[in-house]
Amino acid sequence: MTLLPVILSSVIFFGSLILIFWEKINRSIVAIVGAVLMIGVGKALGFYSEEAAIAAIDFNTLGLLLGMMILVAMLEPTGFFQYLAVLAARASKGNQIRLFLLLSVITTILSMLLDNVTTVVLIAPVTILISEILGVSALPYLMTEALLSNVGGVATLVGDPPNVLIGSAAGLSFNDFLVYSLPIVLFSWAGAFFLLKYLFKQDLAKQSQRSKAVMELDPAETLNHPKTARQILIVLGGAILFFFVHHLLHVEPSLVALSAAAIALLWIQPDIHDVLKKIEWSVLLFFGSLFVMVGGLEHSGALEMTVGLFENASEVSPVLFGVLVIWIVAALSAVVDNVPITIALIPVIKGLGETGMDISPLWWALAFGAGFGGSGTIIGSSANIIVATLSEKTRSPITAALWLRRGMPVMLVTCAIASILYALVYRWL
């Protein structure tokens, strides 16, 4: 093994990461440039090829993301998410604490089944509507929705992109997440929820003078296409049932999601161009390009060298090692996008497995760190950025400093709870 491929592939990969984090050039553009550079350099030096690059792309991840995106793209225009939020507003009768609890629970459940970004994009606008009608600040609700969707997303295979990546790479099933991740997430969620309720207690104590106005919101009128909403929910429900048994049927989750998308498309026959316009192709391109780049790192021998650095890692207690992974990944995810971190760490963890280490707990440590870390700063996750951007148009814009005061405690508490439970669980396994 010569050093030149290692150096060049590392320069391309880390150079791209720096440009992505610098955010002056769109991340998908950086990623595709990095990917073609990696293939070009790899071919010239003989460590990488087009075939190897295509083989490095995890189509299972892309398929699962695409399938879920198609379903959401069809569900969104039906007004179903507004419907849920309006039901919550009416059930709260304008009481802030009750509204806070209901919106938190709805957001969390949605974030477990859908991508966090999607969840927040759909629930935040109607949250602003409800709080404006009540004459209360939207800020506690918006921040809590983003933070709890970050937390809730960790619970399931389909809840956030890092989990999709980890599940696919480690061969973890939907149920594995329900068994190993969901319980720890529930405790972390409770910690986050009560912490937020405490941090926002001043805002939430204000009594709305116009609480009757929310009773005038008509849930039936929020549903633009009740029949379509029903059809997609049936298909989505079917997909979730199949997620529970996909490993027994030896079917990858991507096939389940894409089948559901295909059935929904055939059943409803929407304008396909409208649906495809809502698919986030830039995200899929970003993922695909990152896979190609990390494939190059792998073929150049760079990852092998990184794993070599951890040769003595098996001497460290595995529990301590896992807890370290949670905190290091969380700290990284708080300041940078957790997708490239996850994609880069997956081969490293696989490499550690080849040294004889038991890596099955490490996958969960990676998932907790990547998921909970995003809460720490305003740029920690896309969901945070979305609510902050929306809040700029309201009376109480969310600032980066405020996010540190509210979000950082949530990140610390969720990581601490996850670390303690992680240590307790894997001490005896």
């Binding site: 007004g79 109607v126 009608i133 004459g135 209360v136 116009r210 106005a213 005038e216 148009k393």
Partner: protein, 153 residues
């Protein structure tokens, strides 16, 4: 036919350094939809419309929720009033760039520009760039129709 034939010559305008409160008073008193902002030489430098003022207290959700039909009671939003600080700000803080036509501009051209620029009134300037008049969509539209009648006769 040019826009000169249908424009109103008595233009109500305002200076950029007057307050938003004064501008609002003008809108109410003169029952107008848009107000050209001019400099000391009566040259248009900007415009404020009724919607720019209403936007000051428009709820944010109207921008985010595609169809607000299901909201029957706007609740607390109905009681919102611009703060005293907002009213004290100068007109130039909220004015938009102005789009004008010359007096010899054709009627159809004027009307098309208003449609494309989403304007309800279009300020008309003389050759020296000074404000000469203002024409509304109704002024221009009706003038176009009347030319059709003349053609018939």
């Amino acid at each position: 036919m040019t826009v000169k034939t249908c424009m109103k010559r008595d233009v109500i305008s305002i200076h950029a350094d007057t307050t938003i409160r004064e501008a609002m008073t003008l809108f109410v008193k003169r029952h107008i939809g848009s107000l050209p902002v001019v400099d000391d030489h009566n040259v248009p430098v900007g415009v404020i419309g009724l919607r720019d003022l209403l936007k000051l207290e428009m709820p944010a959700f109207v921008d985010f929720v595609a169809d607000v039909d299901f909201v029957h009671d706007f609740g607390a939003v109905e009681d919102m009033r611009p703060s005293a600080e907002t009213l004290k700000k100068q007109v130039k803080s909220i004015m938009r760039p102005v789009f004008t036509v010359k007096e010899d501009c054709g009627l159809l051209r004027a009307y098309s520009l208003m449609l494309q620029q989403n304007m309800h009134d279009i300020p008309v300037v003389a050759k020296d760039g000074k404000m000469a008049g203002i024409a509304s969509r109704v002024d221009v539209g009706v003038a176009i129709l009347s030319t059709w009648f003349k053609a018939e006769a």
